[in-house]
Symmetry: C2
Subunit: 86 residues, 2 copies
């Protein structure tokens, strides 16, 4: 994603990229209501692509961030599977 889109994402900036991501999340919502699995897969792909773009321009490694917080255990109860009672 960095190689593909970093130059464009940087020009668009954090706010503009966030707004695109929020729009993609709305499209995912519509796809989920529509029950078309292939269309839903594509919307999931778009959301993760824009999330990766946003991470790239803010200098954050998305995969590392996820692993740091969710490293095989729930960050709240430290168990797997999660045993939280919220």
């Amino acid at each position: 994603m960095r190689r593909l889109y970093f130059h464009r994402d940087s020009e668009r900036g954090v706010k503009g990229t966030y707004d695109w991501l929020a729009e993609e999340l709305e499209e995912l919502k519509e796809a989920l209501e529509g029950k078309d699995k292939e269309a839903t897969e594509k919307e999931f792909a778009d959301v993760i692509a824009w999330l990766a773009s946003l991470a790239n321009i803010t200098g954050i490694n998305l995969e590392k961030a996820a692993i740091d917080k969710y490293n095989g255990k729930c960050p709240k109860c430290h168990q797997s599977p999660c045993q939280c009672t919220f």
Copy 2:
């Protein structure tokens, strides 16, 4: 994520899980405005965790969906880096 949270996510359902995801995206927005990199990383982790949860309960493989659509090339112009002129 599946192993950690699938039982809970399934009980919550698609709509409830989507709503959590949307809330996490709002928290990410606030974190991005706050300039605290560590807090922002954690919010990115939360968004991707909830996105993975949503994919799990809808029977979609998030990684496969992303690779199918963005396999090293822009899905619109088929170039890398993207050369779209939108």
